[in-house]
């Protein structure tokens, strides 16, 4: 049986991404759960912010941002960045997160986040009180020690933080279940024929 709970902004699991905007003394970190890949050629990410957010002006000034996927161990700092305003606090100083240079954009990446995505803004879409900012992905940075000898990124070593928005919970990852484009291949032996 199903229960209807209304028209709510619930979708999970998502990454609570630390978005860095701005340059020099005006750098800010915000925590964004309204995030997703929106295309693959070129690869692009969408982030949605309320129009009142301080970071929106910083985004438009620089035309660039970085998406930093936090590890599970930083969930308290991630929450702090989400509830504290960059108008009042320098969140890099407060959290001790380390700014390091990206290779394709001027906005820094966060050293302590194992996965860092460098983006330049290519589109905006008005979503009423929210604005969807779309960034073309220019470079992906991974902690070198989180790449396996075969060159594959180790999800276990990245150990990304999970967020459940609106229900408002942080979770860790559990166990690997299998590989995609793989485990489903033998599911239906007759799938070469048609049953339409």
């Amino acid at each position: 049986m199903k229960t209807q709970i209304g028209a709510k902004d619930i979708l999970f699991p998502v990454p609570p991404a630390l978005i860095v905007t701005g340059l020099e003394d005006n750098r800010n970190i915000i925590t964004i759960a309204w995030i997703g890949i929106v295309g693959s050629k070129p690869p692009a990410i969408g982030i949605s912010l309320h129009k009142s957010r301080y970071s929106l002006s910083l985004l438009r000034q620089t035309g660039e941002f970085t998406v930093n996927i936090p590890s599970k161990s930083d969930y308290i700092k991630v929450d702090y960045c989400g509830i504290t305003s960059g108008k009042k606090r320098n969140k890099f100083k407060d959290t001790g997160f380390t700014k390091i240079d990206g290779t394709k954009v001027k906005v820094p990446i966060i050293k302590e986040c194992p996965l860092n995505i460098e983006c330049k803004i290519i589109k905006e879409l008005d979503m009423s009180d929210w604005i969807l900012i779309i960034g073309e992905i220019l470079e992906i940075n991974i902690d070198s020690d989180k790449i396996n000898p075969d060159g594959k990124v180790s999800v276990e070593k990245v150990n990304p933080l999970i967020y459940v928005p609106t229900i408002r919970e942080y979770w860790s990852i559990g166990q690997k279940l299998g590989n995609s484009f793989d485990v489903g291949r033998n599911y239906n032996q007759t799938s070469q024929s048609t049953n339409k």
Copy 2:
């Protein structure tokens, strides 16, 4: 130290959502990892599909779709839906997933998925070979037995499947770490003052 791995479509963790499109004998299920909330008033979800996808015409015919968040136990069926074309196979028949009515849209929801989101299309955004379809969320359905006595959705009982795109792995959730808008509150005792 960081390693650069190029401009790739990597962002995780994400939900490998089962998107149902179409009506009558033309219903289809596709697995979409390019998904995210794009606004909160009204609540809205974006899904991005390659323009060659069979489901795109079904989406435009009906103007509606449902987003069904699978439980961890269905990862093999989820993979099957992602790699099998709806032009050739009736994936509801192949997987045994059960169609049940939503309350706000005509497109069905999947009974075995604990979280079902009913959407009507409000915008489209061209992303080169991909198209970003934005749906206003009209209703959220949850399995009744996955809501705690206090009315809160139980993430543990929903036990959602996690996907890591491009690296191509399915994972389960692990442990709850804490509540957001909460654990970060006492992080910085001086956060009522400014250090800008």
